[in-house]
C-alpha cells in the first residue's frame, strides 16, 4: 500500500509583486510505500524541498496562494495514507465567467508525519532541550506523565539518553550542530509518526555530526516501523540506506530506482548534475568498463581498476619560498574564559594551497579569525608576512593582506548591488577613485559575474552569492585568501565551479588556505594539509601522507576519500602499487596504460 501518492503535481511559489514565478514542480509523480526508506537526490533548486513540503501539506496550505489565481499555482494531487493533503477543484470559484479554482485537502497533522529541516538552528524553537521535545506533545494534548515518558524514550532513540536527567537545564547553545539535529529528530519521534521526512539533515554538520545523525536514522529504520524520506547528496549514504532513490531535476522526477540500478545509470546521473561515486567516475571516464559495470564501492573497484603505471608526485612549492603565514604554539581564549586554541601551529608558504582540517570546535575558524585580525591572540607566536600579529597596528591592516570568505554568503553581503558589493571593501581601505572601477570589473570577470553587475545580490542563487563573496575578496588583491567551508550544502556542479575558481587562483600564483570537512575536495585541490584537533595541531604534511595513514586518520577523526582508499587497499596485496591520491591521478595512471 502506498503511504504517499503524488500525481501530476504542478506548483509555483506565489510572487509578492509582478509576474508569476516559474513552475517549481512540473508534473511530479511519486509513490512511496509504507515502511520504505526512500531517498531523494538531485541538484540544488531542483525542487527536492518543495516535494517534501507538499507531502506535509505546508504547500499549498501555508503559502498564501491568491484566492483568484489558484489554478495558476497548483494542479494535481498529493495523498498521504489515502487522505487528500493537497488537491484542487479547477472548476470552482467562478469569477467573471472563468473558474479560478479552489484548494482542497488538509495539511498532514502530527503525529502522522514529521519533517526535519536543513538548518538545525532555525528549528530549535525553545530555549531548553526538554521543552523542545515536549512542544509537539503538548500540542497533541498529552498529559505531563505521558510527555515525560515519551521525551525520555525519544532522547534514548536518538542516542541522547544521557541528557535526559538534566534536559530542562540544557540550552541550545550547549549543544553541537549534530546534537541539535538529533534533538529535531527526537522531537518528531516523540510524537510517534508513521512518516519521517529528513531534508538534507546533515549538510551543515562535520563528519562526526553527520555520522551521529545517520547512525540514528539507520537504527530507527531497523528497530521501528517507520517510513523515512531522506533528501541527501552523498551517494554513499543513499546507497547504503535507501530501498529506492529518486532523482529530481528541474521540478520533475527523472528516475526512481533501487540503489544498484540507480547508480549504474552513471552517464545519466552525471549529465543531470547529481553526485556520483568517485570510483565510478574514475572507472567510467578512464573507459575501463561499460556503463552497466561501473563500480560503486572499493570492493567492486579493486578488481576493475588494477592496470596502472607511473608514480604520482606531490607538486609542492619550493621549500625555501617565503613563509606568508607562520603560526607557532598559538593560544586563544574567548572572553568567557573558554580556551579555543591550545598551541596551534601553521606554516603557509607563498603559492601554496593548503587545507585546514578538523572537526567542529577544533579551532579552525578561530585560527582563521586571528589571521584576519578579527580576534586578537592570547599567547604564542603569529606572523603574517613577517609582521607580528600581536601588535594592534598590524592586526588592523590584516584585512588588506588576508582575504576571508565566510562560510555563509548571507552573512557577508552588505549592499544591494553586485558592483557596490565588490567596491565596498575597496572604499573601506581608501583605494584611489580611478582604480576602483577597473579592479571591480576585473574581479567580477574572474568569478564570471560581470553580466550581473547591476543585480541585487540578495536575489542571486547560493552559488552565485558565494562567487560574489570571492570576488569581493579578490578585488582587495590580498596576499592570501582563506575560504571557510566553500562546499557545504551545495550540489556537485556548484562545488565543481567554486573549486575550479580556487584552482585558477592557485595556478595564477595565489596563496590559498581552505577550511573544510570535505575530504574529496582536499585530495583534489590541496597538496598540503594542517589538521587541528581540540585546539592543537596534530598533523602538518601532505594530503597523501594523511590519507594513506590509518593511524593519522584515526587520530584526526577523519575519513579518506574513495580514490586514495582504493589505492591503499590495492597496496595491501601489491606493495609496488602507486599511491594514487585523487581522480586526476587515477585517470592519468590508467591512461598511460592504454
Amino acid at each position: 500500500m502506498s503511504l504517499v501518492k503524488i500525481e501530476n503535481l504542478y506548483w509555483r511559489y506565489p510572487a509578492f509583486v509582478g509576474e508569476l514565478n516559474p513552475w517549481a514542480l512540473q508534473g511530479v509523480n511519486l509513490e512511496i510505500e509504507k515502511g520504505e526508506f526512500f531517498g531523494i537526490t538531485g541538484p540544488s533548486g531542483a525542487g527536492k524541498t518543495t516535494i517534501c513540503k507538499s507531502i506535509m501539506g505546508l504547500l499549498p496550505h501555508a503559502m498564501r496562494v491568491p484566492a483568484n489565481m489558484v489554478n495558476e499555482h497548483f494542479t494535481g494531487s498529493v495523498q498521504v495514507m489515502d487522505k487528500l493533503v493537497g488537491g484542487v477543484n479547477p472548476e470552482a470559484n467562478v469569477v467573471d465567467g472563468t473558474p479560478r479554482g479552489e484548494l482542497l485537502g488538509e495539511p498532514v497533522r502530527p503525529p502522522l508525519a514529521g519533517m526535519v529541516f536543513q538548518d538545525p538552528e532555525n528549528q530549535f524553537l525553545t530555549m531548553s532541550l526538554l521543552y523542545e521535545v515536549a512542544f509537539g506533545l503538548q500540542l497533541l494534548g498529552l498529559e505531563s506523565d505521558e510527555i515525560d515518558e515519551r521525551v525520555r524514550e525519544a532522547l534514548y532513540m536518538v542516542g541522547l539518553g544521557h541528557l535526559w536527567d538534566n534536559a530542562e537545564n540544557i540550552h541550545p547553545a550547549d549543544l553541537s550542530g549534530g546534537q541539535k539535529q538529533r534533538v529535531a529528530i527526537a522531537s518528531f519521534l516523540a510524537m510517534r509518526p508513521d512518516l519521517l521526512i529528513l531534508d538534507e539533515p546533515t549538510s551543515d554538520l562535520d563528519p562526526i555530526g553527520k555520522s551521529e545523525v545517520i547512525a540514528t536514522v539507520r537504527r530507527l529504520k531497523e528497530e521501528h516501523d517507520l517510513t523515512v524520506v531522506l533528501v541527501e547528496q552523498d551517494p554513499e549514504i543513499l546507497f547504503d540506506f535507501c530501498d529506492r532513490i529518486a532523482l529530481v531535476c528541474n521540478g520533475k522526477v527523472d528516475l526512481v530506482a533501487e540503489p544498484e540500478e540507480f547508480y549504474s545509470q552513471f552517464e545519466f546521473l552525471d549529465e543531470k548534475g547529481a553526485y556520483t561515486f568517485e570510483v565510478s567516475r574514475i572507472a567510467y571516464r578512464a573507459g575501463v568498463c561499460s556503463e552497466k559495470e561501473v563500480p560503486r564501492s572499493i570492493v567492486e573497484a579493486r578488481s576493475i581498476l588494477t592496470q596502472v603505471t607511473g608514480e604520482p608526485k606531490d607538486d609542492l612549492v619550493d621549500p625555501v619560498s617565503e613563509k606568508v603565514i607562520e603560526v607557532n604554539d598559538l593560544w586563544y581564549r574567548y572572553e568567557d574564559g573558554t580556551v579555543a586554541l591550545l598551541g596551534a601551529d601553521l606554516v603557509l608558504r607563498r603559492g601554496e594551497t593548503r587545507g585546514l582540517l578538523g572537526n567542529n570546535g577544533s579551532g579552525k575558524t578561530t585560527l582563521a579569525k586571528i589571521l584576519t585580525g578579527i580576534y586578537s591572540p592570547w599567547k604564542g607566536e603569529c606572523r603574517v608576512l613577517g609582521e607580528d600579529v600581536f601588535q594592534r597596528r598590524v592586526r588592523r591592516e590584516l584585512p588588506m593582506k588576508i582575504g576571508y570568505v565566510f562560510q555563509n554568503p548571507d552573512h557577508q553581503i552588505f549592499t544591494r548591488r553586485v558592483y557596490d558589493e565588490v567596491a565596498y571593501g575597496l572604499g573601506c581601505v581608501a583605494v584611489p577613485e580611478d582604480e576602483v572601477e577597473p579592479r571591480v570589473r576585473e574581479a567580477l570577470e574572474r568569478v564570471d559575474l560581470a553580466d550581473l553587475a547591476d543585480e541585487d545580490p540578495l536575489f542571486l542563487g547560493k552559488g552565485q552569492k558565494q562567487r560574489l563573496a570571492v570576488a569581493a575578496v579578490l578585488a582587495m588583491r590580498p596576499e592570501v585568501i582563506i575560504v571557510d567551508e566553500p562546499t557545504t550544502g551545495q550540489d556537485y556542479r556548484m562545488v565543481s565551479s567554486i573549486m575550479a575558481l580556487l584552482e585558477e587562483l592557485h595556478d595564477a600564483g595565489g596563496t590559498v588556505l581552505i577550511i573544510t570537512h570535505d575530504m574529496t575536495l582536499v585530495a583534489n585541490y590541496c597538496q598540503t594539509v594542517t589538521v587541528l584537533r581540540d585546539g592543537r595541531t596534530v598533523f602538518e604534511g601532505t594530503s597523501r601522507q594523511l590519507f594513506s595513514s590509518p593511524d593519522l586518520l584515526e587520530k584526526a577523526q577523519l575519513r579518506a576519500p574513495q580514490a586514495i582508499s582504493l589505492s591503499c587497499e590495492l597496496r595491501k596485496d601489491r606493495a609496488e602499487f602507486p599511491l594514487l591520491l585523487n581522480e586526476r591521478e587515477w585517470l592519468e595512471a590508467l591512461k598511460r596504460e592504454t
Binding site: M127, Y131, L137, L163, N408, D410, Q412, F414, C428
Partner: protein, 361 residues
C-alpha cells in the same frame, strides 16, 4: 556505527553544574534556581522599595543598606556569578557609585553636627576683569595649538598652570566691573553629608546588585511559564514571547558573525570619526534583515511541521512551575518588610543603636 560515537564526551548532561540565563549562566544549585520567577521579581521590586525608604535624607538607614548589600553579595556568590559580574561590570558600577557619592556631597550643603571641611566656592558677586592666570591660560592653549595643531595636552597644561598661578601672590588681577548674582555657594562636608551620601551609595549599590541578581538567575523559559500562569492570557502571546526570546538569541549570534565579516572586509583599516562609524553600522542592516527574513519563514515552517496552528491550545507541562511554601513565605516576608519600612518607619540603624545603648545601660 558503534555506540561509542553516539554518546559524546563533550556533551552537557550529567555533571553539568551551570545553566544559561538571560545574562551569562548560574550554578544549577543556586538557592534562587528553585524559586518561582514571580517570587524573584516581587523580591527584587520589594527590596528596591525598601531601599528607597532606607536612603531617605531625613532618616537614613546605613545598617539596613549594608545588610541588603551583604545579602545581595551572598546570593550572587551562591549563584556562582560574582566573579563574572565583577569582571564584566565593575568598570561601570564602581565609577557610577563614586560619582553619585561626590555629587551628593557637593550639591547638598548640610552643616550637620560637625563640619569636617568647608570652603566658599562662590562669593555671590560676579567680577568681570582680567588676571595673570587667565592670560596664561589662553596663551598656552593658543600657543600649543599653533605649534602642534592639537588641543588636548594644551588644555590640560593650561589648566594646571592657571590653577598653580592662581594660588600664588603672582596672580595679579584687575577687576573692571562687579555685580552681585545668585547667593554665595559653599562646599560643606559635614558628618551628616558623609553619612547620607554613604547610605545612598550603599542603597543604590544594593539596588543595582539585586537587579543584576534577577537577570543573572532567571531563565527565559521561566518567564514563559510565568506568563502561562496568568489567568486569561492567550497562548499565542506566551508562544510569541518565547519565540521572540529565542530569535533574539539567534539574532545576537548573527550580529556578531556579520560584524566580523565586515571587519574582514577592512572597515577598521582606516581611522574613522563617529559619523563614519555609525554609517558602518547602517551597512549591517542589509545582511541582518536578509537573514532574519530567511529565518522567519523557516521558523514558521518548523512550527507548522510540529502541528501548531492559530488557536492551538497545548497542554500544560513542566514549564508552569508550582508555587512552593518558600515562595509564599518570601513574598509575605517582602510585603511585611516594605510595609514596615515605608509605612511604619522601621529603621534598622536606630534599632541597632537602641539595642547597643540599651545593653550599655
Amino acid at each position: 556505527m558503534s555506540e561509542a560515537t553516539l554518546t559524546d564526551s563533550t556533551a552537557p548532561g550529567r555533571g553539568q553544574k551551570w545553566v544559561r540565563t538571560f545574562l551569562f549562566s548560574m550554578r544549577i544549585d543556586s538557592p534562587l534556581a528553585g524559586l518561582h520567577a514571580i517570587t524573584k521579581f516581587v523580591l527584587v521590586l520589594g527590596v528596591s522599595l525598601v531601599l528607597m525608604g532606607m536612603i531617605s535624607t531625613a532618616r537614613p538607614d546605613p545598617v539596613g543598606c549594608i545588610l541588603l548589600v551583604a545579602l545581595a553579595f551572598l546570593l550572587l556568590w551562591l549563584s556562582g556569578v560574582i566573579r563574572w559580574l565583577f569582571r564584566s561590570y565593575l568598570v561601570v558600577i564602581f565609577p557610577m557609585l563614586l560619582s553619585l557619592f561626590l555629587s551628593w556631597i557637593v550639591f547638598n550643603p548640610n552643616p550637620g553636627t560637625r563640619i569636617l571641611f568647608s570652603r566658599q566656592t562662590y562669593s555671590g558677586v560676579l567680577n568681570v576683569g582680567v588676571s595673570v592666570a587667565m592670560v596664561l591660560f589662553v596663551v598656552i592653549i593658543v600657543g600649543y595649538y599653533l605649534f602642534t595643531k592639537q588641543l588636548y595636552w594644551g588644555i590640560i597644561g593650561a589648566v594646571i598652570v592657571a590653577l598653580i598661578i592662581s594660588q600664588t601672590p603672582l596672580n595679579l588681577s584687575w577687576t573692571f566691573v562687579s555685580f552681585p548674582f545668585h547667593q554665595p555657594l559653599t562646599l560643606i562636608i559635614s558628618d551628616q553629608t558623609v553619612y547620607v551620601a554613604a547610605t545612598k551609595v550603599l542603597g543604590y549599590g544594593a539596588m543595582v546588585l539585586m537587579t543584576f541578581l534577577l537577570v543573572l538567575t532567571t531563565r527565559d523559559i521561566e518567564v514563559v511559564g510565568a506568563l502561562r500562569k496568568v489567568p486569561g492570557m492567550p497562548y499565542v502571546i506566551c508562544l510569541f514571547s518565547s519565540l521572540m526570546l529565542r530569535s533574539l538569541n539567534i539574532a545576537m549570534i548573527d550580529f556578531s558573525t556579520v560584524r566580523q565579516a565586515q571587519v574582514a572586509r577592512g572597515v577598521n583599516v582606516q581611522k574613522k570619526n563617529i559619523l563614519a562609524k555609525i554609517r558602518d553600522m547602517a551597512y549591517l542592516t542589509v545582511p541582518l534583515i536578509a537573514n532574519m527574513m530567511r529565518r522567519s519563514t523557516e521558523i514558521s515552517d518548523a512550527l507548522s511541521a510540529r502541528g501548531y496552528e492559530m488557536g492551538s491550545k497545548p497542554t500544560v507541562y513542566r514549564e508552569v512551575k508550582p508555587f512552593h511554601i518558600v515562595d509564599y513565605l518570601l513574598i509575605v516576608g517582602t510585603v511585611v518588610l516594605v510595609v514596615g519600612v515605608l509605612a511604619a518607619g522601621l529603621n534598622i540603624t536606630d534599632l541597632v543603636l537602641g539595642l547597643v545603648s540599651g545593653l550599655r545601660a
